[in-house]
């Protein structure tokens, strides 16, 4: 009896390994855990797109729950996200845009045509602020609380499902 159990041990080990590896197949390799969760949002000073005189710093947002949405005019999935962000803006969600590496300077024209979901859209032309936030691609969205702490990072576009399941509950919790 005992011996038979030991004979089954390799099979058991194999099954456990296969389950772990199988789970790994369905994980998104793009979703790298961000080291910023629970840490203060990096400070920066950037000008508004089309308005170099206006400088913005995350300090201005202390006391507010807000979203930093990293996007770019050349990014296709950002277009998909755009409609959702417009709806969120109508619901009163505060979204700051980070226009990442917009070398062709298309953002202003695009916003004029499609509308802007942002309270302010910032120009990160050389992508340095993006790097400071550990951005690997667009779109990425950070949820930042009243104390200026990053509480969540969404990699990839926000759709209705992502909003209701991941972002909205956290935003509500942070607003308390």
């Amino acid at each position: 009896m005992n011996k038979r159990l030991i004979m089954l041990l390799p099979l058991a080990v194999f099954v456990v390994l296969a389950l772990f590896l199988g789970k790994g197949l369905f994980l998104n390799p793009r979703e790298v855990p961000s080291p910023f969760i629970g840490r203060p949002a990096p400070q920066f000073a950037l000008a508004e797109v089309g308005n170099p005189a206006r400088s913005f710093s995350p300090k201005e947002m202390l006391g507010k729950v807000w979203m930093l949405n990293v996007w770019a005019p050349w990014c296709v999935s950002c277009r998909q996200e755009h409609g959702v962000l417009m709806q969120l803006k109508d619901q009163g969600v505060v979204i700051v845009g980070l226009n990442w590496k917009d070398k062709d300077r298309e953002a202003a024209e695009l916003m004029a045509r499609m509308g802007t979901p942002y309270v302010i859209n910032l120009e990160d032309l050389d992508g340095r602020v993006g790097i400071d936030y550990g951005v690997t691609g667009t779109p990425e969205t950070f949820l930042i609380d009243k104390q200026g702490i990053i509480r969540y990072k969404q990699t990839g576009p926000i759709n209705a499902e992502v909003w209701t399941e991941k972002l909205e509950p956290r935003m509500k919790e942070m607003a308390k």
Binding site: V32, P33, P35, R128, I131, D132, G134, T136, G137
Partner: protein, 151 residues
Amino acid sequence: MKWVMMFMALAMSVSAFAGEAQPVGEDPKIEARLNVLAEDLRCLVCQNETLAGSHAELAEDLRREIRDQMKQGKDDKQVVEYLVARYGDFVLYKPPFKPLTVVLWLGPLVFLLIGALTWWTILKRRRAQPDAMENIKTRPEAARILNGDAE
């Protein structure tokens, strides 16, 4: 003429091995450090490429960032700390040894130990069994057959 041809052939072979073109006017010392360091760093966009080998735009930006920091006099460790603070341990091809990665580092050792233990117990058990041949040789008729006295 022959010498000129040979020289040209040599010059061409050098350029063929030069690999990635470096921006003109960069400090060769820093470029060398950058290339060594970037071999151990992961490109975050094409995740199976190193930062040194990737042509992704982000990789270029990160190389520029590393180059700038080296020019400011930061050592390799500080540069790596800078990247890990932003992109996490994932950026390192050789993850650090810490509580979260204990299984990753020691897992293979544990499996090796299990294997060695299994091997050892099997060998020990086999040795404990009496030798089948010896057993047979002590029996008179078997001994006779083995000695070729069988009719």
